[in-house]
């Protein structure tokens, strides 16, 4: 990890620690375990030559619901158990999808000014967390909110809660199957139709995976019902 990132971590650790988040060195993110999975605050990083060299850090908020991720990960799209344990159900990058239109949540730490820039960046991230991040985590700790959010809107390729189609379709369908089973057939048909229209070359693969997700989620729901 770079000195810039370490300085930002140091600036955030007391604040996030008070709220139950712990820094995970291997995954380079702040995590809070929950009965259903975990909450995750981290950032993507790249280096540019601007301003004499600077780190550009874009915050990202994510929530994992184990039940959903365990189903989608059965599709074999993620390499390795250690990686599969850290996939997330909803993931919002504040670079593409800030909470307020036009507000740039991206933080810049100049290599020649790490200490003061990191302090400022940490302050900005804390402010974002208080104003919007905590509410985001509260909301998407609900599986029903994840289902509703991931499946709203259906016909779009980019999306603030999972910016990848068809991955969003798999997650949206799995989440719905677990908490809004009445919607599953309609969602399944809608996602298949959308993929046929927009990505005809991948239609067979996508519809096959959606079929698997639907079956696995149905089985998980049946097991859950028997256990009560």
């Amino acid at each position: 990890m770079s000195n810039a990132q370490q300085a930002l971590v140091d600036g955030l650790t007391p604040f996030l620690g008070e709220r139950g988040f712990k820094w995970n060195k291997g995954r380079e993110g702040f995590f809070r375990k929950e009965p259903f999975g975990f909450l995750d605050l981290s950032w993507s990083t790249h280096v540019t030559g601007q301003n004499g060299g600077e780190f550009v850090l874009t915050p990202l908020l994510a929530v994992r619901h184990n039940e959903v991720d365990n189903i989608v990960n059965e599709l074999g799209l993620i390499h390795g158990d250690s990686n599969r344990r850290y996939t997330t159900t909803v993931t919002r990058s504040l670079g593409f999808f800030p909470f307020v239109d036009g507000r740039d949540e991206t933080q810049r730490i100049r290599i020649g000014n790490i200490e003061s820039d990191a302090k400022s960046a940490a302050s900005e991230v804390r402010s974002m967390f208080v104003q919007y991040g905590a509410a985001f985590f509260d909301k998407y700790s609900s599986l029903a909110a994840c289902s509703e959010g991931l499946n709203d809107v259906i016909e779009t390729k980019s999306h603030p809660l999972l910016n990848n189609f068809p991955m969003r379709a798999y997650y949206g369908l799995a989440a719905a199957a677990l908490c809004e089973p009445d919607r599953v057939e309609t969602l399944f048909t809608s996602y298949c139709q959308f993929s046929l229209r927009e990505f005809p070359d991948q239609y067979q693969q996508i519809s096959g995976r959606l079929t698997k997700v639907r079956a696995m989620a149905g089985a998980a729901l049946a097991i859950r019902a028997r256990s009560f």
Partner: protein, 108 residues
Amino acid sequence: MMARQLSVRAYDDDGTLLPGRTQLDAAGWRLDNGAFGALETKLSPHAPLTQGQLLHFPALARNGGIVVGKNGRSIGMPAGFIVPPTKVQVIRGPGLPNPESWWSNFYE
């Protein structure tokens, strides 16, 4: 929408991950057809590929690979995400467009 400096490891011809990793300057899902695309930029016409790029780029084109690290998460590619076989497109300067425009110049 693209991810910047996305780290990847390519599979070799036997399906084993090659050692090390390489970074793609820009990578993402094409909005026109849903395919994965990747760009590498070089500042001059003759700047060579690095050793890591020479190892991973051809294998990535043949066999695909996986995402390493967290820079792919903004485009739904977490660590371990399996990347389909992808030929990395190399664009060379001088006169490169602004980095924010790389992706749209080629893929959107």
